[in-house]
Subunit: 574 residues, 2 copies
């Protein structure tokens, strides 16, 4: 990869672009645009923002990601989970009435963008690994349920609200008597149509001889058909006058460029939600990018993705949009529709700009119930409880983390849920890595091999404690070894020699070295020697550089077999 | 250990207590009490509190720890670092003038106690392992420098102040012209005396035929001699009238029992400092307890220590004291003076109570310069820059963490320093554990052993990629393996089979299993089979429970040798 390509990954596809690639990308861009129009509007409304903000977030961010992102098919824009998190964050700061929802969302996008860029420059992409996928999927399932429930008010034409499962259910129940039946009829019809197409659409179309791939793509266009149909219905029967809520006037024109509001109070209130949105958005984005990349043997660079997504969010903020991230469904559609490069996203951005410039008046009579039905069908596809059953069989710790995350998200909202998920993930990781695997080993008779005494019939001696350390030793797990040796030698007073078999010790840090010295010293006070065997080259280099070896009460042996025999000889046993 | 002993560790020594033990403990208690009187007063002044608060914190907390702590010789009370952190936290909340320093310190102790108890009940003692010892020592060195510098104002008799190295130096420089020369003479004489005794005391006394151990203990009494001498000097020459600052009136009596102030604002302002004090205090305490415990084959229970320290801090708060923790010097003196059980601490508490009841009027004329000299000599013993040089040879990452922690502590104060230390520690840990050690291995000709291709002359085949995973696989490191396999197979198009040698994989979690499935799927799309060898029992159980094996494109082999031969046979090579 050249230096230029490292800074601007887009150069990679630009240099070998041709008309065939353009053709494929143009088709993909058209299909994605059709899919994005209702999605962008819907997610803006979900975030509690004017519909046009969603369109704005689908123009510049796409273009900027296409230049700086490392995935060739990831499609960036407003997504359901980030929209829900935006709604929660914006709701808190606008309660006082000093700030408009739009300017809070813009600041949120700016902070999120700046953080992602910073993490990218610091090459912290690896940190995303510490958010366990199972925890993320639990968070997404719970959020999807909250999102779906929050949309029922639009289907019913009522004023219900709330951030948690309890609040939403209570509010829906209280406002149920105000249901507008025309809205309910319209909304549930759209919902039924969308569900029918999702479940049976491909089957019906392939029955007519359409290829499976084309049929799958065609079903993605259904929301736009629903949009057009319901707009026509509203106009024909003057449904707005009969209480069917519509999107209303959307200003025509390109996104207004503007400086986000960076006042201290606003930044103070939004930096934590911005961090959480960044983390969740980034983890999802990289996971979608990797899934698609694997199919094309394309490597996703975790640090470059931080920069790409960060730049996209900054672009969104400066062009009056909300926080964006790589969306799963839109990226899959982009990929399946044949996009070969980020030129597809550039063209999508251009087409959405055209919509924003000329077509917004047509959207005036679009019922919000139609958008709500679109959201419900989209997010219900994210609900996945099977992970609880699957993890239960493999690891109870994972199941516990999932339940905690789901319950907290449903009971206390997205911010509590995702914070808990991150804490549970990291605690689980710290807990696991604080206990290195240590096995007591003995000699397999007639061989030179040493194996776990619990699994094999092996030769051992009550005066010799032979431990195999199955991990590198460093500050977080070193004291566990110290305690292990303490407990073992306090329990068995006969032990005269300890042999530590270091086959799997790839590294050692300063604290671990100090701990080894402490173990050596303590054993010496108990009249026990400490011996090491099978030390790897890099670790031996470090031991030599420190003065550990000069204090060592026992010896260092090349092989465990030598160590065992020599120690036995010292005891007069061999 | 009985159930009762688990709940109340003191039962262990109480059940076998006899008059010999009582004699040893009484001697130790007397020496520790003599040492504690100036220390308690000094650390209270360091924390910006009235001197008696230090005495109060040396009564009930000691008694309570002696019941619930798991160490038989740890001595709990006010210590230098915690006092400095208390000063920083208290300084922030008292700036507004609404709260007194004492009531802020009491709330701090209460919050810290409650947190430690909670962590103890949740059995989170293992989390202390994640604060690297090198980082803690860096923090202590920097804090000791700040503490020593902060005491120069008492030696000079001026009003300087500040929380950081820069502030302290500037303030000392500005106030230097106001130096009281009598105070300076008195203070520097005490400083010289204490340093002389520390450096040469043992040598001089052993020259007089005193045993080494007794000589070492005798030197610990010097601060009290300095206290008595300087009180006499102040009284004889009426030095107070000539501007030598003295401790002044200390109320006589037992610690007043009272409910800490838990008002919302105060708790909001103090919970984070309380958490930081808890963490640092706990880590230090456990490390002192373990060092002493090792000499007596006594195990320190990390979770029980949380409960013991937590209870001690709650006791301190309810008896008008400041945050306490296990002190290094006092515990070593206690141990060296022959304490055999926590009865020594109970007796120390009783003696300090007697001092507080009857002797405080005698302390009226004690110069603060004497206490400052005591503090300076005590904390300078904590300064250790050699760790930078030592870690530099072993691990640059450790040196970096040390420098960051030291610089931040010196430049921005203790809270910034310890927060940075914790973050750097955990990031270092996360970084290390996100990259499992993976080695490409080949067959050692004429054997059945496989070894790293970089270190040995081995047999390999360009169509077979054989990787040995040297660690357990779980969510935080699984994606590294995925990327490793991607990069290796993208680079070398010849590869037809991948064999993953799982010798060191002790565990696998759900995310890692999903990643293995993703690797399998991707390799399948590239026309490559994935094979596993030498899977351990527990991991195999999990693979069987999931349906991973039904999707596996290759096979599972008992030994790497079988796998290599079978795959070669498939390629028509064997």
């Amino acid at each position: 990869m050249s230096r230029g390509e490292k800074l601007l990954p887009a150069l990679r596809w630009m240099r070998r672009y041709d008309s065939a690639a353009f053709g494929s990308d143009a088709i993909a861009a058209t299909i994605v645009t059709i899919m994005l129009i209702p999605q962008s509007l819907a997610y803006a409304l979900l975030a509690g923002l004017p519909a046009e903000v969603g369109l704005y977030a689908s123009i510049l961010p796409l273009a900027v990601y296409s230049l700086f992102g490392s995935s060739s098919t990831l499609s960036v824009g407003p997504v359901a989970i980030a929209a829900l998190m935006t709604a929660a964050a914006v709701g808190e700061v606008t309660a006082s009435g000093d700030v408009s929802a739009t300017s809070a969302a813009i600041t949120l996008a700016a902070l999120s963008g700046a953080m992602l860029m910073l993490f990218g420059f610091l090459r912290l992409g690896f940190l995303a690994n510490f958010l366990s996928h199972t925890v993320v999927s639990a968070f997404i399932t719970a959020s999807a349920i909250i999102i779906a429930l929050s949309q029922f008010r639009h289907l019913l034409g009522i004023q219900a609200g709330g951030d948690t499962l309890g609040e939403l259910l209570r509010s829906l129940w209280e406002h149920l008597p105000q249901t507008n039946y025309l809205t309910l009829l319209l909304g549930s019809s759209v919902l039924a149509l969308l569900y029918f197409v999702r479940l049976k659409g491909v089957k019906v179309l392939t029955g007519f001889g359409v290829s499976r791939r084309r049929a799958a793509l065609a079903t993605k266009v259904t929301p736009v058909i629903a949009v057009i149909l319901t707009i026509v219905l509203v106009k024909l029967f003057s449904l707005e006058a009969q209480g069917v809520a519509v999107v209303g006037a959307i200003p025509k024109g390109l996104p207004p460029l503007q400086m986000p509001d960076f006042s201290v109070d606003l930044v103070n209130a939004l930096w934590l939600p911005a961090l959480l949105i960044s983390i969740i958005g980034y983890v999802e984005s990289v996971s979608v990018g990797r899934t698609l990349g694997a199919k094309r043997q394309e490597r996703i660079d975790a640090d470059q993705e931080l920069i790409g997504l960060g730049a996209a969010n900054l672009a969104s903020a400066f062009s009056s949009g909300l926080p964006v991230t790589g969306g799963f469904s839109r990226s899959v559609v982009n990929f399946d529709a044949g996009a070969v490069s980020q030129a597809a996203s550039l063209m999508t951005a251009a087409m959405i700009a055209l919509v924003s410039l000329f077509l917004t008046p047509l959207l005036y009579s679009l019922p919000t119930a139609t958008l709500a039905a679109t959201i419900i069908v989209a997010v219900m596809a994210l609900v996945d409880f099977s992970v609880i059953r699957k993890t239960w069989k493999i690891s109870k710790g994972d199941s516990f983390a999932i339940l905690v995350t789901m319950l907290l998200t449903l009971s206390f909202g997205v911010e509590a849920g995702v914070s808990a998920g991150i804490l549970v993930s990291i605690s689980l990781h710290l807990y696991r890595t604080s206990k290195p695997h240590i096995a007591e080993v003995g000699l397999i008779p007639g061989s030179e091999h040493f194996r776990n005494v619990r699994r094999y019939e092996v030769e051992r001696d009550p005066q010799i404690l032979t431990l195999r350390l199955d991990e590198s030793l460093f500050f977080a797990n070193a004291s566990f070894l110290e305690e292990y040796v303490q407990v073992a030698t306090f329990k068995n007073g006969e032990i005269a020699h300890v042999i530590l078999m270091c086959t799997a010790m790839n590294e050692i840090d300063y604290t671990a070295l100090e701990t080894l010295e402490a173990i050596n010293l303590q054993l010496k006070q108990q009249g026990i020697t400490l011996n090491l065997s099978e030390i790897k080259g890099p670790v031996m280099d470090m031991l030599v550089k420190s003065d550990f070896l000069t204090h060592l009460s026992g010896q260092v042996y090349l092989s465990q077999f030598d160590a065992f025999n020599d120690v036995k000889a010292k005891l007069g046993l061999a």
